[in-house]
């Protein structure tokens, strides 16, 4: 039996790291992830976790330490956010390209300027093309459970791709909720001992991350692509297994809330946007509008087919982005649009860019945006509403 504790998302992630029996943690502090690495240091300090803790001089090296540990055959973890994640960018591509199954928690935060510590998803979204699997957690409980699932997904030999577990800065990272912390024995049954894949093994010498010419590089990239696309079914399977074992699961790649007969569907990721969208949906349903929310749990791999299936029957789609791809629109919205390409009749798609740098997203506001979106009649219009005050 596990135990229930009133803890934040960050502390929940640290519990998951302990339960996963991580061997090496390599970390550098940055708000709002710092409580994760502090709590892990406490677990190691008081003997609850047998792991080596590498204190590094920056996030580039934080991931470097994880990479070294992984190649030596130890399960490795780190956490970061915002500028730290941007600073880690080169290492992210290295870890993904080298197919090292490392898990990284990102407590999403805006990237300056304007400088700010508050929550957003721009930091993780701008790492979209580094080749990492990205899973977004809505609650502290989901953050804990997703970290445990992440190790199992990353270490699946068909996948061997690192996983980024994203939790909204402050709204999830620093908000306390009642969390069920699973039992160690149960986690040990769920998560097998670490399988690092290729290691630096003197008995079997290999050059890892070797140089390669174009044709071989393309084959390498294709395999990388296939692995992350193939991870879709692994993510679903692992979530299902988790559900059978612990009584909690999250819908695999997406969580659809009241979408079955919905004419208006709000697409969201993470805690703040999804929470507001769920409340907005309830309120709209009370006033007679059939609305639903499609929470994307996986952003990479992008669940194109599922998104298409849920959104095709709708008349209106509102996509909330807590990020912006400057010069185009929100990055999530672009992917949703692409998923619906060729669907006829196609719902109208409106992009709502908001919740930036910790700006609140209230259910009332989301409801207002959804109602505004229903007024768009032309499917070819690319409406972008910025949460904006003069």
């Amino acid at each position: 039996m596990g135990e229930k504790k009133f803890i934040t998302g960050d502390i929940a992630v640290a519990h998951a790291v302990k339960l996963a029996r991580v061997g090496v943690v390599s970390a550098y502090p940055i708000t709002p992830q710092t409580p994760i690495v502090e709590q892990i240091a406490n677990f190691i300090g008081n003997g609850e976790l047998n792991a080596d803790y590498i204190k590094v001089e920056g996030e580039h090296s934080a991931m470097g330490g994880c990479l070294g540990a992984c190649m030596a055959g130890a399960r490795a973890f780190t956490a970061t956010a915002s500028h730290g994640l941007a600073y880690m960018h080169e290492m992210l591509t290295y870890v993904a390209g080298g197919r090292f199954p490392i898990v990284l928690a990102v407590a999403g935060r805006t990237i300056g300027p304007p400088w700010s510590i508050w929550g957003e998803q721009q930091d993780s979204i701008q790492q979209r093309d580094t080749g990492w699997i990205q899973l977004y957690a809505e609650t502290a409980q989901e953050a804990l459970d997703t970290v445990l699932q992440a190790f199992k997904i990353a270490e699946n030999p068909e996948v061997f791709t690192p996983v980024m577990v994203c939790l909204d800065g402050f709204n999830v990272s620093h908000t306390e909720e009642l969390v069920d912390i699973p039992d160690q024995d149960a986690v040990d049954r769920f998560l097998p001992p670490f399988n690092p894949g290729a290691t630096l093994n003197p008995d079997e010498p290999m050059t890892l991350a070797m140089g390669a010419p174009g044709q071989l590089s393309t084959t390498w990239r294709f395999e990388q692509f296939q692995a992350i696309v193939g991870a879709k079914s692994v993510i679903e399977k692992v979530d299902k297994e988790f559900g059978e074992m612990f009584g909690r699961s999250y819908g695999g790649l997406v969580d659809a809330y009241k979408c079955e007969d919905a004419e208006v569907v709000i697409v969201s990721m993470g805690g703040l946007a999804t929470g507001a969208a769920r409340d907005a949906v309830d309120s709209m349903r009370r006033s007679g509008t059939p609305a639903g929310t499609l929470k994307l749990r996986a952003f990479r791999p992008f669940p194109t087919d599922i998104v298409k299936r849920y959104l095709s029957p709708a008349k209106t789609v509102l996509v909330i982005d807590r990020d912006c791809s400057y010069g185009n629109e929100g990055a999530v919205c672009s992917d949703v649009r692409a998923a619906l390409y060729g669907v006829h009749p196609c719902p109208t798609i409106t992009n709502f860019i908001g919740g930036l740098a910790g700006a609140d997203l209230t259910p009332e506001e989301v409801q207002e945006m959804a109602q505004e979106a229903t007024k768009t009649a032309d499917v070819e219009r690319h409406d972008i509403i910025f949460q904006y005050t003069e």
């Binding site: 090496v24 540990a69 030596a72 050059t207 010419p213």
Partner: protein, 295 residues
């Protein structure tokens, strides 16, 4: 280490490095001492781009071609990982060039030394970014031409000194640090042996003469290393238990002008620059000797 004790076995063979490459020689000699229970973390540089590019893989030990700035972090991580798994017999070695050490990799090397885990870091110092065609690095010596300093800074009357990485590393209170040159193979191999026996970080900076980058015929690499040490342009030291000492002192000092005139890279230096260089070299050596004299 005596000549009879050097194993016949080659752990690097069939390399496509340039003829006369002393980085390759230094790596080969290090492997003679370290043996097959060794793993290398190699960032961008001649050793990785020439010797870890498919299908030309001359190394018979595990290699990782790492990001430029992260060598120190990755060796720390690998050291921690092997220790976690109870694998104590593996030599974890970072093998980086001077740019990868003195410039882009300095922060992660510094933190790795502070971290105190067991590893060896070998800096193969050929005094410029040779792999990309001889661009200036902070270890490029006074007066040398590179493709990004076609007119060396001293000739433009600006300050230019080779960055003293050995001094910076010593300042960390590292358990073991040394300077070496493959022109003095036994001195170097003994230092590698000592580095491997330290239970903590160890650093060796190897002066690696480069025919292509320095501008001399490829058969003269060993001679260039000897001239460097005999003129005081380089020095063979070690720092152990807080004590600096010279492991070799030339019986007769040669003027730096001999070293300078033997290489194309110094061709823009005028006699007054050579005199200035001689003065700087003398002062640096005097400083090191004074440090070594403090017991």
């Amino acid at each position: 280490m005596k000549i009879k004790e050097i194993p016949q076995e080659e752990l690097i063979a069939g390399s496509m490095s340039c003829a006369g490459c002393s980085e390759l020689l230094a790596t080969r000699l290090a492997l003679k001492v370290l043996g097959a229970r060794t793993i290398f973390i190699v960032p961008a540089g001649c050793m990785s781009s020439v010797n870890c590019y498919w299908p030309q893989m001359p190394f018979r030990v595990p290699m990782f071609v790492g990001p430029f700035a992260a060598t120190g972090a990755i060796v720390q991580g690998a050291s921690a990982g092997f220790r976690f798994r109870g694998m104590k017999d593996i030599n974890v070695v970072g093998l980086a060039g001077d740019g990868g050490t003195a410039d882009i990799g300095l922060a992660s090397l510094s933190q790795a030394i502070v971290g105190g885990r067991k590893f060896i870091y070998i800096c193969l110092d050929n005094e410029a970014y040779m792999n990309t065609g001889t661009q200036w690095s902070s270890t490029t010596p006074y007066g040398a031409i590179t493709t990004t300093t076609p007119v060396p800074e001293v000739i433009q009357e600006k300050e230019q000194n080779k960055k003293d990485i050995f001094g910076i590393v010593m300042a960390h209170n590292i358990p073991y640090a040394a300077t070496a040159c493959p022109s003095y193979p036994f001195d170097y191999m003994e230092k590698v042996r000592k580095a491997a026996s330290v239970d903590g970080p160890a650093y060796i900076q190897v002066l690696a003469p480069c025919p292509a980058g320095w501008g001399y015929p490829e058969e003269r690499s060993i001679e260039m290393g000897r001239m460097a040490v005999e003129s005081g342009m380089w020095y063979l030291c070690e720092y152990e238990n807080g004590q600096l000492r010279f492991t070799y002192t030339p019986k007769k000092k040669r003027p730096v002008s001999e070293f300078v005139s033997a290489q194309g890279r110094f061709r823009r230096m005028k006699p007054e620059h050579v005199a200035d260089l001689q003065n700087r070299v003398d002062k640096r050596l005097a400083r090191l000797e004074a440090m070594a004299a403090v017991k």
